[in-house]
């Protein structure tokens, strides 16, 4: 069955509209937090980007599994692009998190926070994916090694996500518990808009990169045929 995909220009327009709406809500609609004041506004994009980064790494693992299990010829490249996007969004998580930490805790980084350190471990693990991938010549061996590595990394996602809930000395705030989100009203509405906007933006960038990579491969093949 042929897959129906949303055209890239439609995704680009949707990303632009959603991100603009989210920013408008963050700066003009959401009220100041009672404890943190204005600085809490980093939360909307920081958390959305973090969840998107987890989703991108999970996507990479899913595609890696498809490569190893179903031998899907497209899965290796898709897994690679997912990891690449995940690392970009992971960088954003670390940067926005550090800025927020500086305002809230007076420090850019806290090694005592399990959540921060485990996210850094996850991030570095996926950074090392590129070293592995580009140290092997293109071919089935590289695809298989990359897929196994991406699949192993998925174990770190629930560990990183659960660390904050399992840690006794909680520094990093917990806003989502088993009782639901610990906020409501316009803060929740703004968060929901940002949480939709950021994954749509990530998916648009993923599709853009995937298209350009596929075009690059097809052109290389064409050049070899002509040579």
């Amino acid at each position: 069955m042929a897959r129906t995909r949303i055209p890239l220009p439609v995704l680009a327009v949707a990303s632009l509209v959603l991100v603009t709406t989210a920013l408008a809500f963050v700066f003009f609609v959401a009220p100041n937090d009672a404890n943190q004041g204005f600085s809490q506004r980093i939360f909307y994009f920081h958390v959305s980007i973090a969840i998107t980064a987890y989703a991108l790494f999970a996507g990479a693992a899913w595609k890696a599994l498809r490569h190893l299990w179903k031998r899907d010829p497209r899965a290796d490249l898709e897994s690679y692009v997912f990891v690449h996007q995940g690392v970009i969004f992971g960088t954003l998580v670390l940067l926005t998190g550090s800025i927020w930490a500086k305002i809230s805790w007076g420090r850019w980084w806290l090694w005592s926070s399990d959540q921060l350190v485990l996210f850094l471990v996850l991030f570095l693990f996926y950074c090392a994916y590129f070293m592995l991938r580009f140290s092997v010549d293109p071919g089935p061996q590289r695809a298989n090694l990359s897929a196994v590595y991406a699949l192993f990394g998925v174990v770190l996602i629930p560990v990183s996500f659960a660390a904050i809930r399992l840690a006794k000395d909680i520094i990093h705030p917990v806003v989502f518990t088993l009782k639901g989100p610990q906020f409501g009203g316009w803060i929740l509405v703004t968060y929901c808009i940002a949480q939709v906007a950021v994954p749509v933006l990530a998916y648009t960038l993923y599709r853009l990169e995937l298209s350009s990579k596929r075009l690059d491969i097809r052109l290389r093949d064409l050049r070899e045929v002509l040579a």
Binding site: T96, L205, S212
Partner: protein, 60 residues
């Protein structure tokens, strides 16, 4: 502008700058791909021109 406002602005500027840098890199890559397509197209048209059958010449 308060310190908190400066930091929040910096955080959102970082996000914007990184996404913009990524889009610019992708735009440059697409330009390169466009040049490659043009090069291949011109090579194909040159090869077609060389292989085109010649008109029989009338002798005498």
């Amino acid at each position: 502008m308060t310190t908190a406002e400066k930091y929040v602005t910096a955080a959102y500027c970082v996000v914007f700058a990184l996404v913009l840098a990524y889009v610019l890199i992708m735009a440059l890559k697409l330009q390169r791909l466009e040049r490659d397509v043009d090069e291949i197209a011109s090579r194909v048209s040159e090869e077609n021109a060389e292989e085109a059958p010649r008109e029989p010449a009338h002798v005498g």
